[in-house]
Amino acid sequence: MSGEMMAVDYYIPLIMFLIVGALVPIGALAAVKIISPQKSTLQKRSTYEGGLRPIREAIIQYNVQYYLFAIAFVIFDVEVLFLYPWIYVYASDAIPAVGGVSIAITGMLIFIVVLLIGLLYDIKKEALRWV
């Protein structure tokens, strides 16, 4: 490998960062294992619940309204993903223009307006209401 830096090469230092970043808390946890007292009792390890004994499991199914947020999020996040590459082309002369405005801009405008209508529909139907 010689010459130009390839895109992948930028991620090698980042992997090292991830490893070092994981070693810091792992080191701290290992140090605690050595220096802190270990006298575990059943009472000490019980789940906190305002002084009472916990009733049932806490890992539950959540209200369905919650998932509507997630669906709306996926739609808009994909829209944002489309916008990222668009940054590099919107001002380019290579893209034909209609009526003095580049197709890249009119196209994205239509795309965003369609999604905004969707958002308005969501709001009107109270899909984005926290319950």
Binding site: G21, P37, Y48, F69, D77, Y88
Partner: protein, 346 residues
Amino acid sequence: MVLSAITEFAAQEPKIYGLVIGLVAAAILASIINVVAMLLVWLERKVMGDFQARYGPNRVGGRWGVLQLGADAVKLFTKEDVIPRGADKPVYVWAPIVAVATTMLVAGALPFGAVIIDGKEIPLVVANMDISAFYIEAALSIMAISAFMAGWSSNNKYSMLGAFRGIARMIAYEVPMGICVISVAVMAHSLNVVEIVQAQSVWFAIAQPLGFVIFAIALITDLGRMPFDQTEAEEEIIAGYNTEYSGIRFGLLYFQEYIVMLLGSILLVHLYLGGWNGPVIPVISFISPMIWFFMKLVIVLVALIWVRVSLPRFRIDQVTDLGWKILLPLSMVNLAWAVVVGLYFA
């Protein structure tokens, strides 16, 4: 001499260079960030004390209480490590590790100022990627996942509520935040943070004030700070996602919040406040970009603390409403503004 030899080696063996520079830089940055984050905890307690007309830490380490954090660290390290018996153990153990490790992923692509050598500006960044703004935003959002891991695995009702709130809050503000980053990139014609900083002959905070406000709100939400700290809201849900955490595990989660606060503030400075740009100071021109960068950073950090002590916490439904119904359409308006300005006035 040495510098040119290093650049030559980097060009010939980019993979080995990447490994070595990554390891060295990661070790140095990890220690610097940890120390600065400690100072930040101290700064926040001290500044909050001043805002609330009380002393703040003032016992350990003289009048200013500078050693308070050292004392806290000793306490956290010597405290017994308790794992609640209802917890999902692997996820519970990994949550703080994931939280801290992902903050380092952000640090790898974020420039920490610049120095001027021979009249040339050299940004201090490890991975100077073409898409670093996009990458940083993506890495910042992993934070919500570690918070969810912590809350879900604790098997505590309050933690669970905090975890669900955290995700709802994150997804409500991720989209406006992303569109703000895009608006900035549209004006700078680049997604590289270094190039975004260099493109700011006029600060983007002035060129697109609306975007600045939206990004600042979204950032505070992403950082989970007052008035948007519904994930841990002490008065409502005990301590939210970290209720079941104690000792060093709690310490790591708590510490991570401050590391992310530091990194998020740096991102804000780079995207909207001109990064290290500023007039060159004559005698010490070598580090004059650093001086500007740190001045802006400290102002942003104190402003974040100011917001925290000034505003009460919002309800969770108000938070999601603000994100979806107000900030999202407004960020679209800001994008249109950025395109118009970027095309006709740049």
